[in-house]
Amino acid sequence: MATPTLDKADGAGAPEAGFADSPYITATFRIRRFNSEVSAEAVWEDFQLEIDPKERVLDALHKIKWDQDGTLTFRRSCAHGICGSDAMRINGKNRLACKTLIKDLSPEKPITVEPIKGLTVLKDLVVDMEPFFQAYRDVMPFLITKDTNEPTRERLQTAEDRERFDDTTKCILCAACTSSCPVFWNDGQYFGPAAIVNAHRFIFDSRDEAGEQRLEILNDKDGVWRCRTTFNCTDACPRGIEVTKAIQEVKRALITRRF
């Protein structure tokens, strides 16, 4: 085993750590603000704060909300990249605020935080998620089987068949991929990467028997063929899903009708 020693972990993520050099830095957060109760226009607002750069962007947003401006509004829950509430555009890139550490953002310059694009902004960093979830619901995101006699025990599935769709089961529906897609920005009609990822999760599940139906849904003019393979979605996915590859696999399945 590795012998536990004073290793690089000590002091990590700990603002109170008693080191001689203060871990704190002064960072500026440039946040896109919008509140229809105040103004019809969105504006940028700067906040300065002392913060340990090993903390999360979400920690910084909380510090601003709790110590400086209670009206700053954003969604969050689990704070460790599992619930998918806090996708936002940070320094021009879609990320989860709770999975992005300040030190990885060149904090010597102002850090910009704005809502994800392509969905209507409701207040500050909060967007209308309904069109996103509607596209998800449209691909029939649930297991469909035709057997008239349900097995008494579990359906069998080989480890290999289970592995076939593992990547797309990781999706947390945060919308980072869909709202990074230029085709989706153009008009909201395109299903978007997240819905296709969730269709893929069932099309390639050996237990499912509605792959053909899902493929027909995605063969629509607003379906997979609108993907321009820009890989923004893959770059944006906080779960590391190979989104573009999944979309390509769905396209290929549409051509070959094999999946």
């Binding site: 590795a2 536990p4 004073l6 972990a9 990249g81 649930f142 359906r155 080989t158 237990r207």
Partner: protein, 585 residues
């Protein structure tokens, strides 16, 4: 104010709420009110698995599982409920598989199973493989699968609706549920939902601790709503501290890491659990492991410059095994600590994780207004409830099980009740008045106290005084501090005075809930002069079955002059086949 009328209303859309909704939507007109989008619920953060004696990989049976659950809960478990949990576990897992859940598979193609803390072969002989799992994302898969099936069944959700009050109407001296009052985040509008049956499935209350695995949103809203209406809360002193939270952050690292062979080590590299639990070692129950970790730390064998943590060592496990079985938690270590778990041990400390106590129910999910009386039309399931299947300490993988078994039971029972009663119970006069007054007071207050300050002080006092080790003195310190904070809370004001998405206002409401529940917890803990499961009193280090093998029932009392107090009562434990024994791992 809008008034809605449904047969069944479910409060919360995590595992228990959605499992209930799948059943009740088939049988009655159902609305699910949830303060988060359903897939944001904290069920998704559960990692290691769901227990069921499928016996897919080795001999196992539900009776062994029942025994482990009763023993794990330090004999405060209601044994009839534990038996239902263990028996129905098997169909619960099979139900989820049929709904599409992508479990890991054995070479035969059946659901794979792995070891977990406190789950044993033949009443404690050795660890058994009972946890059905999907890598270290079992909760995520359960949450997604249940949401997918809610979409399939056409479940009607009201997303970002905060339920702030439970409506009770007395008929012939018996309290009946009449519905709930909710606040709509997007608009600030108040909604009254009249319903024949209400199911609470709103989750836990861990945010009154500082170091916790719980989400920011776990603020005990359901418990607080019924408690304020005079209904009791059961066993609130029992809170689980999960042994392996990321040091100082509290982010959960699954017990499955130890199930896969991970080892806890102190600063000398010693596998210290061998001293405390010679048979189960690192897979002893969570209360035992958490106390062992703090004993090591207190005796000077903790790691780091301040000696305030120990290590979870996975470095002897093959990287392929970590990638296949523990992909998410190894990524957490890399993301948040900059540590490579292939080569370096991970600094951990116990983290506030799970409320064993909650709203008392019977095995049908019906809420009780005292030790035996059912509140017609009111149900609860999951972490918000106390059946009690977890007693004084929950076993790992039994909570994902609990939400499925009792979520389903509550969903069926509530919908069947809705179908049998002819009419809705009449709403109380001016049903939204309490919520309207509460919101108005917070919105218009000009007091000088701030939510963030009071919450921070509450979390600090809870961590310092009612965590893994407790004494009369520390608990009294907490009780006094909470009383001071409750007084200061009356002068709290919010900066956001608007109607749209006013999360500033709702954080203030949530803090009020946390303060009420923290007080119940501390007062219940003070009165329990024994050590049992997650409640460890250094001044009373032994379990006392003569005086304390009973459930605490805490009631809010309001005097004629408006002063509030907590009245404690007790309820017998249901014992069937197991006599209390000394608990050894």
């Amino acid at each position: 104010m809008k008034i809605h009328k449904y047969d069944t209303v479910i409060v919360g859309a995590g595992g228990a709420g959605m499992r209930a909704a799948i059943e009740s939507t088939k049988r009655s007109r159902t609305a699910v009110l949830t303060k988060l989008y359903p897939t944001r619920s904290h069920t998704g953060a559960a990692q290691g698995g769901m227990a069921a004696a499928l016996a897919n990989v080795e001999e196992d049976n539900w009776e062994w599982h029942t025994f482990d659950t009763v023993k794990g809960g330090d004999y405060l478990v209601d044994q009839d409920a534990a038996e239902i949990l263990a028996k129905e576990a098997i169909d619960s897992v099979l139900d989820l598989e049929k709904m599409g859940l992508p479990f890991n598979r054995t070479p035969d193609g059946t659901i794979d199973q792995r070891r977990f803390g406190g789950h044993s072969r033949n009443h404690g002989e050795a660890p058994v493989r009972r946890s059905c799992y999907a890598a270290d994302r079992t909760g995520h898969m359960i949450l997604q699968t249940l949401y997918q099936n809610c979409v399939k069944e056409g479940v009607e959700f009201f997303n970002e609706f905060y339920v702030l009050d439970q409506l009770i109407t007395e008929i012939d001296g018996v309290k009946h549920s009449a519905g709930v009052v909710a606040y709509e985040l997007a608009t600030g509008e108040i909604h009254v939902f009249q319903a024949k049956a209400v199911i609470y499935a709103s989750g836990g209350t861990g945010k009154f601790f500082k170091v916790t695995s719980n989400a920011h949103t776990l603020t005990g809203d359901g418990q607080a709503a019924v408690y304020r209406r005079g209904l009791p809360l059961e066993d609130m002193e029992f809170f689980q501290f999960h042994p392996t939270g990321i040091w100082r952050m509290g982010i959960l690292l699954t017990e499955g890491a130890r199930g896969e062979g991970g080892i806890l080590r102190n600063k000398d590299g010693e596998r210290f659990m061998e001293k405390y639990a010679p048979v189960m070692k690192d897979l002893a129950s969570r209360d035992v492991v958490s106390r062992s970790i703090y004993t090591e730390i207190r005796e000077g064998r903790g790691c780091g410059p301040e000696g305030d943590h120990v290590y979870l060592d996975l470095t002897h496990l093959p990287p392929e095994q970590l990638d296949a079985k523990l992909p998410d938690i190894t990524e957490f270590a890399r993301t948040y600590l900059g540590i490579e778990p292939y080569t370096d041990p991970i600094p951990i400390q116990p983290t506030a994780h799970y409320a064993m106590g909650g709203i008392p129910t019977n095995v049908r999910g019906e809420v009780l207004s005292d030790n035996t009386t059912v509140v017609p039309g009111l149900y609860a399931a999951g972490e918000v409830a106390c059946v009690s299947v977890h007693g004084a300490n929950r076993l790992g993988t039994n909570s994902l099980l609990d939400i499925n078994v009792f979520g389903k039971r509550a969903g069926i029972a509530a919908a069947e009740y809705s179908a049998t009663v002819a009419a809705h119970v009449e709403l109380p006069e001016d049903p939204a008045s309490l919520v309207v007054a509460q919101i108005e007071r917070l919105r218009s207050s000009t007091g000088s106290e701030r939510v963030a300050d009071i919450r921070r002080e509450l979390q600090e006092t809870m961590d310092a005084n009612v965590m893994v080790f407790r004494t009369e003195q520390t608990i009294k310190t907490a009780v006094e501090k909470i009383a001071e904070l409750r007084e200061r809370y009356r002068h709290v004001s919010v900066q956001d005075k608007g109607k749209r998405f006013n999360t500033d206002l709702l954080e203030a409401v949530e803090l009020g809930n946390l303060l009420d529940l923290a007080e119940v917890m501390a007062v219940s803990a003070l009165a329990r002069k024994e050590s049992r499961g997650g409640h460890y009193r250094e001044d009373y280090p032994n379990r006392d079955d003569v005086n304390f093998m009973r459930h605490t029932m805490a009631y809010r009392e309001v005097g004629d002059d408006g002063t509030e107090s907590i009245r404690l009562d007790y309820k017998p434990v249901v014992q069937t086949r197991y006599q209390p024994m000394e608990r050894k791992y």
